[in-house]
């Protein structure tokens, strides 16, 4: 039992889905209840990971391995390190929240909806747990289809366009990524004489820079589209705007993280030479900076509430990729924390948009205004989410952004300076959004009688709020969990980094007291 814990976490949602399929479609309430049970169960079974996890151990933990396709060298290997742990926890929690939030929003094809959601959940968890590239790729693709349906079936007016755009974009990227994977796979065969997809084995490869570069770009396309990094981001606003609320939440909170996770887990350790190649780093950092500023500027302009939040994701994810390619411990750790933060904050923002949308069926910012008068709880929660997203200290966003900025600053001061403008603009568009929707007078009679948050809606926010405060006030556990994996990655990519002062690699906090 205990040695299969990760598998249990991984397949709980899938089991939930299979049981869900047995419930007749017309019993919608039963379906809803069951889906919520499955979602919450998914979260609860993931909780033991927290205390089973040993933050001082290096490498992967709770590893499970089984033969799967011996003739390909593909195995079922799952395991987590600090980075995966955080993302897995994010996935289970946000997944449960998203399922809860759909209670009243989804009125038709309920069964299909929840089934897709739970399937999606397993896919995402698999991505974060897989330690075998083949397995990873399978889960990676598994996430595509449910999201296609979630957008395409329950989405807004332009859902078809958005869904297929999402699907095509990400698929095109992932197929190219597959080619990159295969190249590594084959190179490993050439060097070691057997085929394997195991990450740990592939890490032993020693490839020339030129080849690494090609593989890097192949991976880049796959991951960057998912993130999405600057020139590949246009699927995101469409997908977000058209997706139903919970879909947007999952999309923003978790699905996008698959891209950044891919960079951290695969691009960096497997292709260290390419990842250190100045041209590549420069290109990626410039793209990240463009994303930060660009996403913020475009957000500033949006008339559509949801689109605004969507573009803000582009900006925030720009921070994450910047942190990754700062290629130092703080940049990486900050990036992971910021990924969690973005999951929390933007997840909340999308939930907030969804609640407004559910009540008014419009996302035009101009349609709102003065909601704080009629929906004070809602306004409070919104303010909270907004501030957390804008990086107010003592809330989660600050820790992430600040640590990333530190990493970027260490790598290159100019980068940090550019990135800091994102901080300014972030406040600008969020506050302006808040002002236009929540503050001022009620100018639209339709808004006069909007009900405030009910208990269920409030319940979707509370865990996220609590988590945001936790990260904001006491982020130490996060850094502790991340220290080992992040250090290992940096050690692998830039062995000379720690050679500056070998003492440092294990220097405890107290040294500086």
């Amino acid at each position: 039992m205990s040695e299969h814990w990760l598998s249990i976490v991984l397949f709980t949602p899938l089991a939930g889905m299979l049981i869900l399929l047995l419930i007749p479609s017309r019993r919608t309430d039963l379906i809803r209840i069951w889906a919520n049970i499955a979602g919450i169960a998914g979260f609860l079974v993931s909780l033991p990971l927290l205390w089973r996890f040993d933050k001082n151990a290096s490498g992967f933990q709770m590893v499970e391995r089984h033969e799967w396709i011996p003739s390909l060298g593909a195995r079922y290997i799952v395991g987590i390190d600090g980075i995966s742990l955080l993302l897995v926890m994010l996935t289970t929690l946000v997944g449960a929240v998203a399922i809860l939030s759909s209670w009243s929003a989804i009125q038709e094809k309920v069964k299909q909806y929840y089934a897709m959601f739970l399937l999606q959940q397993t896919g995402m968890l698999g991505v974060f747990m897989a330690l075998d590239f083949f397995l990873f790729f399978v889960f990676w693709e598994v996430t595509l289809v449910p999201m296609y349906f979630i957008i395409g079936v329950w989405g807004g007016p332009r859902k078809l366009y958005a869904a297929i755009k999402f699907f095509l974009y990400t698929l095109a990227g992932s197929v190219l990524m597959l080619l990159g994977i295969l190249t590594l796979y084959f190179q490993h065969f050439q060097q070691f004489g057997f085929y394997t997809f195991e990450i740990a084995e592939l890490m032993k490869l020693d490839l020339p820079l030129s080849l690494q570069r090609w593989v890097f770009w192949a991976f880049f396309i796959g991951f960057a589209i998912k993130v999405p990094m600057f020139p590949f981001h246009t699927w995101l606003p469409d997908a977000h705007v058209e997706a139903p609320t919970a879909g947007s939440v999952i999309l923003a909170s978790i699905l996008l993280k698959m891209g950044t996770y891919g960079f951290i887990r695969f691009s960096l350790p497997l292709l260290p030479k390419a990842a250190m190649d100045p041209a590549i780093v420069k290109a990626l950092v410039v793209l990240s900076l463009i994303a930060i500023i660009y996403g913020a500027l475009v957000s500033l302009m949006q008339q559509d509430w949801k689109k605004l939040v969507a573009y803000s994701s582009v900006s925030h994810l720009g921070f994450c990729t910047l942190g990754i390619f700062a290629l130092n411990p703080n940049g990486l750790a900050g990036s992971v924390i910021q990924q969690i933060n973005h999951g929390i904050s933007t997840g909340m923002l999308f939930l907030i948009v969804g609640i407004a949308y559910e009540r008014r069926h419009t996302r035009e910012i101009a349609e709102y205004g003065g909601l704080a008068h009629v929906m004070p709880k809602y306004a409070t929660v919104f303010a909270f989410a907004m501030l957390s997203s804008a990086g107010l200290p003592l809330l989660n966003g600050f820790i992430g952004e600040f640590t990333i900025l530190q990493g970027a600053f260490e790598a290159n001061r100019i980068w940090a300076a550019f990135a800091a403008t994102g901080v300014i603009l972030g406040a600008a568009y969020l506050l302006w959004l808040y002002q236009r929707t929540m503050l001022g007078q009620i100018t639209n009679p339709k808004n006069l009688r909007l009900p405030d948050l009910n208990w269920r809606e409030l319940a979707t926010f509370l865990p996220l709020i609590a988590w945001a405060i936790w990260i904001g006030v006491y982020p130490k556990p996060y850094f502790e969990v991340l220290e080992k994996p992040v250090t290992e990655i940096v050690q692998r990519v830039r062995p000379e980094y720690f050679r500056q002062a070998p003492v440092m690699a294990s220097a405890p906090l107290e040294v500086l007291r």
């Binding site: 974009y169 020139p231 590949f232 981001h233 246009t234 500027l297 475009v298 500033l300 302009m301 411990p329 703080n330 750790a333 003065g370 008068h373 009629v374 004070p376 409070t380 501030l387 107010l392 200290p393 820790i399 600040f402 640590t403 900025l405 530190q406 600053f409 260490e410 001061r413 940090a416 300076a417 800091a420 403008t421 901080v423 300014i424 603009l425 406040a427 600008a428 506050l431 302006w432 002002q435 929540m438 503050l439 001022g440 007078q441 009620i442 100018t443 009679p445 006069l448 006491y474 982020p475 130490k476 850094f479 250090t487 002062a501 440092m504 690699a505 220097a507 906090l509 040294v511 500086l512």
Partner: protein, 718 residues
């Protein structure tokens, strides 16, 4: 009780109050529909909108708890602060650090010099003379203003919200001043900004209030970005941001003073100062503060006069080790301070809104404090900060009392003749005005005079700056007394109805006024000039307490020129004379010969217009960032303008908008365009391919043969 060990509790009391208010305050303070602000023309269906007063009368009793609780938390903080400061005084090193836990617990990195370091920040508190002054000011003035607010806000909706925010503000302000490192200080720094945003926008149904709040936040954010970068630079240079570590490193001698060049320390200092200009409303980022007067008056008093806006000064003083090593940066501080002081003073000369006058006055006084910092007289800056807190809070609260009395009127042109109707307000305000003008004996005199003297005597100062400061002092006296005269003297200019309802404020408001007035008189007496040797040294308590803390400047010895006592006396006389002159002119123009004022306005013509329009700075910003080509452009641009620029953020601006528009355009047509083009091409290519299938079997056969031909041809051409 060991108060020193418990200093971490000081901020937490107000936080508890705030959390309580924001969570359950709504229950304690049931809101009628009065809080629903609806734009004219939109009838709330069915529900009669009860006037605010009725609802709040019912609610008053249940508000008592709030009224007790919230000021109470601040009072407890005050008590703890006093206790802690008293115990601190008995410590020989006068520094007490409490570290609760590691807050930002980042990972290892290497400093500029290659030394290993860790990106960490404590949840830690530092009590030293500097922060002890600040916590006393914050808790004391904060408490007084809380009490005042009980009266002032008594009729307002959202009472619980107001006090929640106020308590939250006090929490953050205490965090700011008690933090033992820059990052934690930044928590307070941002937090007070947030509270400022919330409180400015307290009347959020007013668009102007919401706009002002947003403007404040965004403008502050510009400064914050500088602050963040400064901290990062600090990390990369020192490997730590703890004040004690940084100061120790700076005074260790490892860093040479950057007297000639512009090095990394100067960059650090200027980045931090950029943060300070944002928070303390210095040029060019001062524009938010006057707009911030949209908030309730106690807010203006507490946040935008006494405490928050002085955070920048505190931060610069906190970083005095750094600034001492960077004369160039200090010179910038001095110049910015001087320029801001005179600029805003000149604007204040002609403003008619009572709170705006005070706002510009605040900006100007902050400029003063920065001037003191610029010349290295940090304790003086803090001294002025401290005295200013009293008299400016007093003036604001007084103006609040006036506004209260007049039922919300803020325009001084519709006031006058109030001095008998609201005597307590009048007399306390007079005290405040005397203090700010620098009349000897009042608090302002001591601090302001000391600043002038320092500017004059310090090697970093100059005659020009001194002249500017002096001129500013004169202007200060003028506009402040213009305020007094226009408000309280002469014939009443308000309409009869308002006049009939003029009443003195309740006790709960006047008592704080009196308390602050007492402070405005007495506060200065702990920092009398050295010149006044007839007074015992205990009158120079402030300097003794603070000066060693902020001038223990490492190895750079700032030689103080030995000036003649006579010079000092002379300068003191000049400044007093200038202040008196200002008062006299004001009296002449607004009491004795009011018609002259109008004539002068005529005569000054353009100058007056320029001043009345605040040097057009807002307009220039608007032009640069907000309106841009909008006005000159064609109809197309005008449409664009009305759609996009209209009602926009002042700070974020037009260029931003244009870029955003371009970005969206780019997204739609270039990035997405490429994708769509591909999709289009695929589809477009689909038809020719399909058209190949004409349905004619012979055509198919021909294609086969053509294929074979090509294969053969390929072979032959090979």
């Amino acid at each position: 009780m060991n108060f020193l060990e418990l200093i971490w509790l000081i901020p937490l009391f107000p936080l508890a109050g705030a959390v309580l208010m924001l969570l359950i305050g709504r229950r304690l303070d049931p809101q009628g529909p009065s809080e629903v602000a609806v734009a004219p023309g939109i009838a709330p269906e069915g529900t009669p909108a009860a006037p605010a007063h009725h609802a709040s009368h019912h609610a008053r009793r249940s508000r008592a708890l709030i009224s007790l609780l919230c000021p109470g938390t601040v009072l407890i903080s005050l008590i703890f602060s006093i206790g802690a400061v008293a115990q601190l005084a008995s410590l020989p090193e006068r520094t007490w650090q409490v570290i609760k836990f590691t807050w930002v617990a980042g990972l290892p990195f290497f400093t500029q010099s290659g030394a290993p370091a860790r990106f960490t920040a404590d949840w830690g508190f530092l009590l030293d003379p500097l922060s002890s002054v600040m916590i006393l000011v914050v808790t004391l003035v904060g408490f007084i203003i809380h009490v005042y607010s009980v009266g002032y806000m008594g009729h307002e909706g959202g009472y619980y919200r107001f006090f929640g925010y106020m308590n939250l503000f006090v929490f953050f302000m205490l965090m700011l001043v008690l933090a033992n490192n820059y990052v934690l200080m930044f928590v307070g720094w941002e937090g007070v900004g947030l509270c400022s945003y919330l409180l400015i926008g307290f009347y959020f149904h007013k668009k102007s209030a919401a706009d002002a709040g947003k403007k404040a936040f965004v403008v502050n954010r510009i400064g914050d970005a500088g602050f963040i970068l400064g901290m990062l630079l600090m990390f990369s240079v020192f490997g730590s941001v703890r004040f004690l570590d940084v100061n120790a490193a700076l005074s260790s001698g490892r860093f040479a003073a950057e007297t000639t060049g512009f090095g990394v320390l100067s960059a650090m200092a200027l980045l931090l100062f950029l943060g300070a200009t944002g928070k303390s409303a210095q040029f060019p980022l001062y524009v938010w503060l006057p707009d911030a007067m949209e908030g309730p008056t106690p807010v203006s008093a507490l946040i935008h006069a006494a405490t928050m806006v002085t955070a920048g000064v505190y931060m610069v003083a906190r970083s005095h080790h750094l600034f001492r090593l960077t004369p160039e940066a200090s010179a910038v501080v001095l110049a910015i301070g001087a320029f801001t002081a005179i600029l805003s003073a000149s604007i204040a000369l002609v403003q008619n809104d009572i709170k705006r006058v005070l706002a510009y006055s605040t900006v100007s006084q902050l400029g003063y404090m920065f001037m003191a910092c610029g010349v290295g007289a940090y304790w003086v800056a803090i001294f002025h900060l401290y005295t200013h807190a009293f008299f400016k809070a007093l003036l604001f609260l007084g103006s609040g009392s006036v506004i209260h009395a007049l039922g919300g009127e803020q325009d001084m042109r519709r006031m006058g003749g109030l001095k008998d109707k609201i005597p307590i307000t009048y007399w306390t305000m007079v005290v405040g005005a005397l203090a700010i003008s620098g009349i000897p004996g009042f608090a302002g005199f001591f601090s302001k005079d000391e600043i002038l003297w320092q500017i004059y005597s310090s090697p970093q100062g100059s005659r020009l700056i001194y002249a500017v400061a002096l001129l500013t002092a004169g202007m200060t006296a003028f506009y402040m007394w213009r305020l007094i005269f226009m408000t309280f003297h002469g014939a009443p200019r308000m309409d009869a109805h308002t006049l009939a309802h003029v009443h003195e404020s309740p006790r709960v408001m006047t008592v704080p006024l009196v308390a602050l007035a007492a402070g405005s008189v007495l506060a200065g007496w702990i920092g009398v000039p050295k010149l006044w040797s007839f007074l015992p040294d205990s009158f120079r308590l402030f300097e003794h307490w603070l000066a060693p803390a902020v001038s223990a400047a490492a190895h750079v010895h700032v030689a103080e020129h030995a000036h003649e006592a006579a010079t000092e006396w002379l300068l003191m006389a000049i400044s007093v004379a200038v202040a008196l002159a200002g008062i006299a002119v004001a009296r002449h123009l607004y009491v004795t010969r009011p018609e002259r004022a109008a004539a002068l306005r005529q005569a000054a013509g353009p100058l007056y217009t320029v001043l009345a329009n605040k040097w057009y700075v807002d307009e220039i910003y608007d032009f640069l960032f907000v309106n841009g080509l909008g006005k000159g452009g064609g109809s197309a641009l005008a449409r664009f303008d009305s759609r996009i620029v209209d009602g926009g953020v002042n700070g974020a601006g037009w260029i931003t908008r244009l870029t955003s528009a371009l970005s969206i355009w780019w997204d739609t047509w270039i990035v997405d365009g490429a994708v769509r083009l591909t999709a289009f091409l695929v589809k477009a290519a689909s038809f020719p391919v399909r058209l190949l299938h004409t349905g004619s079997v012979q055509a198919y056969a021909l294609v086969i043969v053509l294929g074979a031909t090509v294969v053969f041809a390929w072979y032959l051409m090979r």
